[in-house]
C-alpha cells in the first residue's frame, strides 16, 4: 500500500466517498501514536525516579561519585544535548526533501548517541570493577573491602537504583540509535548492526557485563530485519520527525537522571 499522508487530497477534502476522518489533534496518526507511547513511557521512568528520590531523601545515602564520574556524566549529557540539536537539523533537512543532509544529520545524531553509550559502558565497567554490584551478584576479586563494595552491602538501594535507572535509559538510547539507523540507512543498516554485534561480542571480555549486554544489538537486528522486510518503505519527513520525537524523549529523561543519580551523590 502506498504511503498515505495528510497531504493527500483524500484526507483533506471531506464529504467525498472514501474520505478519511479528520485527525483529532491536527497531526498525522504516527505522530499522535508516538506521543501517546512517550507519555506512557514517561510514567515508567517517573515511577523509577520517584523511588530513587524517596530513597535518596530517607536513607543514609552514600555520595561516592568522584570528579572522574561527574566529568564523564557531564560529557555524556553534552553528547545527548548535541544529538538533539543534530536531530532537529535532520528534521529540517527532511522537510526540505534534502535526502543527503537528512542522512548526514541522522548519522551525526547516531554518533553522539553511540558516544553516550560507550562512555556509559566504560563508567559501568569501572564502577563494577571497583566493587559496585547488585545483591546476589558476584563481586570482583580483590575488591571485597573497597568503598563501593561496602556501599553495595550497606545500602543496596544505591546500586539497585543506579543500575536500574541507567540500564533502562541505556536500553532506550540503544533502541533509539537502531531506530535512527533504520530510518537513515534502511536495509543497509542491517549488516552494519550485525557486524557491530559480532565485533562487540568477540572483543568485549567475557567477565564484562556488556559481553552479554551487546546481545541487545542482535535482538534489535532481528526486529529491524522483520520490519524492513515486511514493509520495505522509503522513510519520509514524517518518519524522521517521529523518530526525532523518540530521540528527544531519551534526551529529556537523562535531564532528570543526571542530576538525581549523579549530582545528588557527588563526593566533595
Amino acid at each position: 500500500m502506498s504511503e498515505i499522508t495528510l497531504q493527500d487530497d483524500a484526507v483533506i477534502a471531506h464529504g467525498h466517498a472514501g474520505e478519511f476522518e479528520a485527525p483529532l489533534f491536527g497531526a498525522y496518526s504516527k505522530k499522535v501514536g508516538m506521543w501517546l507511547f512517550l507519555a506512557s513511557d514517561s510514567l515508567t521512568f517517573g515511577a523509577l525516579l520517584f523511588a530513587f528520590s524517596y530513597n535518596r531523601i530517607y536513607t543514609s545515602w552514600p555520595t561516592p561519585f568522584g570528579k572522574d564520574s561527574i566529568i564523564n556524566a557531564t560529557v555524556m549529557t553534552a553528547c545527548l544535548l548535541s544529538s538533539s540539536l543534530t536531530m532537529v537539523m535532520a528534521v529540517f533537512a527532511a522537510q526540505r526533501h534534502d535526502r543527503a543532509w537528512t542522512r548526514n544529520w541522522l548519522l551525526a545524531t547516531m554518533a553522539f548517541g553511540t558516544g553516550f553509550i560507550v562512555l556509559h559502558g566504560m563508567e559501568w565497567t569501572k564502577l563494577i570493577h571497583e566493587g559496585l554490584s547488585l545483591p546476589g551478584f558476584p563481586k570482583p576479586a580483590g575488591q571485597l573491602e573497597s568503598e563501593y563494595a561496602h556501599i553495595s552491602s550497606g545500602v543496596p538501594q544505591f546500586a539497585a537504583t543506579f543500575f536500574g535507572l541507567t540500564a533502562m535509559h541505556m536500553l532506550h538510547v540503544t533502541i533509539g540509535v537502531i531506530y535512527l539507523g533504520v530510518v537513515a540507512l534502511r536495509k543497509l543498516f542491517l549488516p552494519i548492526l550485525g557486524a557491530l554485534w559480532l565485533v562487540g561480542f568477540l572483543l568485549i571480555p567475557a567477565d564484562n557485563v556488556f559481553h552479554y549486554g551487546i546481545h541487545a544489538l542482535l535482538i534489535g537486528l532481528i526486529i529491524s530485519s522483520v520490519i524492513l522486510f515486511l514493509k520495505p518503505k522509503d522513510y519520509d519527513a514524517h518518519d524522521v520527525e517521529v523518530s526525532g520525537l523518540y530521540w528527544h524523549f531519551v534526551d529529556l529523561v537523562w535531564m532528570f537522571i543526571f542530576p538525581l543519580v549523579y549530582l545528588m551523590s557527588t563526593k566533595i
Binding site: 510514567l43 526525532g244 545528588m264
Partner: protein, 103 residues
Amino acid sequence: MHDVATHDDSKGQYFWVWGALLVLTAVEVWLGYRQIFEPVHMLEVLLVLSVIKSVLIIAYFMHLKFEKAIMRWLLVISVTGCFVIMYFFFFPDADRILKLGVR
C-alpha cells in the same frame, strides 16, 4: 492542515535552546559540587532546573509549542496529572510502610 511541523521558525532559536540547556547543565554541576543546600532542598532545586530543561526540550526540540492547542494541553495535563497522582500515592505509602514496619 498541520502536517510535518512546517512552522516558519529560524534555526537560530534551536542553537539558543541548545546553549541554554548546556548552561543549565553547567549550573547543575556547579550546584552539585558546591552542595550549598541540604539534600532535600538540593533535590528540589535540581528538579526545578530539570523541569526547566525538559520544558525547553519538549517545547522546541519536540515541537510541542507548534502543535495544536488541544494536543498540547491534553498531553501536558494528562502526564502532569499522572505524576501528581504518583506523588500523592507513592510517598505517603512508602512512609506508611516505614512507620508500620514490614514483617
